[in-house]
Symmetry: C2
């Protein structure tokens, strides 16, 4: 009997739910400095991408591509950054970050750079709704 999936507490605290895809929970990092999504496969005990079987890995990367397209459609950017690090939070999670030239960390990575600036309302609700619409109608 395998343990049920439970979202890591730090990931939960740092982000808000957008929607669930077949494999991954998609969450928005609560940091208004960047448009930044997390994808967290909803299976217990994952640390590395290689912990997923090949079919699930393929699903993960397809969902990553969907997330990248949705993010880009609501937050035009100069470069997308993808990352799977897990040095601090071991639960497998992917970062998809829309970067703008001159943003708070540019051109360095966003991880570990300064402090998150939580969204105000209604900006958070607006962004979440735009993301949900973008996932529902992915651009060609």
């Amino acid at each position: 009997m395998s343990a049920a999936f439970a979202l890591d507490e730090r990931l939960r605290a740092d982000s808000v739910p957008v929607l669930d895809l077949p494999l991954c929970a998609v969450r928005l990092m609560n940091d208004a400095r960047y448009a930044w999504l997390l994808l967290v496969p909803r299976r217990a005990g994952l640390v590395e991408v290689a912990d997923l079987d090949p079919a699930a890995q393929a699903t993960l990367w397809r969902e990553c591509a969907l997330a990248a397209a949705a993010l880009r459609s609501v937050a035009p950017c100069d470069k997308l950054n993808l990352g799977a690090l897990g040095n601090i939070v071991r639960q497998l999670h992917l970062h998809v970050v829309a970067r703008r030239v001159g943003d708070a960390a540019w051109p360095r990575p966003v991880w570990g750079c300064g402090h998150a600036e939580p969204y105000a309302e209604p900006a958070l609700s607006v962004r979440l709704e735009a993301l949900r619409q973008a996932f529902a109608a992915p651009p060609d």
Copy 2:
């Protein structure tokens, strides 16, 4: 007529060739602080993963999984880090980095952390040969 693929000059200067997979050139970052591979799809004009068609994206991620397994087999690690950033070098490239607790950047990302420490010989030749053998005989 499309331009021929040419490796970005900064990537070329910072890394040494390991071998070519069907899609990607695999290169070792010449930085002995970490076991660190680059995968560079050998197609001209790519910036984002989404610039590859879906079949080629699938190939990219399969090759990334092969590279991760090969790297891990020659450089046991506590965590693999995957990244596609491209904020400085725009040519599409993936990083696969074997991280150890207490390494030069731990637990921060390796990008932009200090200065590369080039391999001495014979350490470089030994690592390249071990990697080539690991790619030739991927672990189950």
